[in-house]
């Protein structure tokens, strides 16, 4: 379990995990038309979240973090996507109490709801792809 000490640490972790998930979503999007639709929907949520996180940094008086280097090309495995998505959800859950601002908690809690929904859909997708699923 990660014990975040400041909002800056939370946002840095979320940015990093979100970047990995986005890279994996782009890879997964090429698997089939249905996976493309799902991935594009998730990526749309990520884009909105990124804008809202930027607004929260301003609200909290924190300088914008330097842009992350492009994430390395990810494989298109659902297992890999699931692992990355789980880490992203966990960063939100463990980070909320370090934000120290009710508005920031409110916004990031909504992002966590979106990411938890994505995680569940990935789990259901994985179940479907299992031989006996």
């Amino acid at each position: 379990m990660t014990d975040y000490a400041s909002p800056r640490e939370v946002f840095a972790a979320v940015d990093g995990f979100a970047s990995e998930v986005e890279s994996r979503l782009r890879a997964v999007a090429g698997r089939a038309p249905l996976s493309r639709k799902l991935a594009l929907s998730f990526l749309g949520d990520h884009e909105r979240h990124r804008r809202q996180r930027a607004a929260l940094l301003v609200r909290l008086g924190l300088a914008a973090a330097p842009p992350l280097p492009p994430a390395p090309a990810a494989d298109a495995s659902l297992d890999g996507l699931r692992t990355a998505q789980d880490a992203l959800v966990l960063a939100h859950a463990e980070g909320l109490s370090a934000l120290g601002d009710a508005k920031a908690v409110d916004v990031m809690a909504q992002h966590m709801v979106d990411h938890s929904r994505h995680l569940t859909l990935i789990d259901l997708w994985l179940e479907q792809e299992q031989p006996n699923g």
């Binding site: 929907s41 909320l96 109490s97 908690v105 938890s116």
Partner: protein
């Protein structure tokens, strides 16, 4: 159409909360009449009590559905899993409340779930209580004062979203 089917999303949550005796600032938050409350040990306890009423309600519904074998065979494992989650949420929050000297609410003597005559009706009731739980935790989490309770509530909220997403998918509702 049954009365509960006409009730809006918020109305169901509010009715459930009021029936369990939730009042004061927490009810105002759930009603959307205020966006923030003065945080204190007492307000954390009020949030805990409101959350516990929903957990009791969810456990009672899953108990009833499982006892009467109303969940369709392929979905029973989800009901068992989700019931277990709610039991965990209940026990965690009772422990937090008691640590703070609170007196957490007990389950109601009975719950009105309507006829629950079919699996579909039961799944809609399950979805409704999960939606109410998600909305309640979502509305209340930013008003929690203590860090340990906020952490616990965050993990509870993650579970509620999972439950809701599964039932929405099963019922053919929009999920993304």
């Amino acid at each position: 159409m049954a009365e509960r089917d006409r009730l809006g999303r918020r109305e169901f949550l509010l009715r459930t909360a009021r029936a369990a005796g939730i009042a004061g600032p927490t009810l105002l938050l759930l009603e959307g009449r205020v966006s923030a409350i003065e945080k204190s040990e007492a307000s954390d306890l009020e949030i805990l009590y409101a959350s516990l009423t929903l957990e009791h309600h969810a456990i009672a519904l899953y108990d009833e559905g499982l006892k009467r074998n109303l969940f369709p065979a392929g979905l029973r494992r989800y009901a068992v899993d989700f019931r277990g989650d709610h039991l965990g949420h209940r026990d965690t929050q009772i422990a937090i409340a008691e640590e703070r000297g609170g007196r957490p609410p007990r389950p109601l003597a009975s719950y009105d779930f309507g006829s629950l005559g079919s699996g579909d009706h039961l799944l809609r009731e399950a979805m409704r209580i999960e939606l109410a739980a998600q909305d309640a935790y979502r509305a209340l989490i930013s008003q929690i004062r203590s860090q340990d309770y906020m952490l616990a509530a965050a993990f509870v909220l993650v579970d509620e979203v999972r439950h809701l997403t599964v039932w929405r998918r099963v019922l053919g509702m929009k999920i993304y």
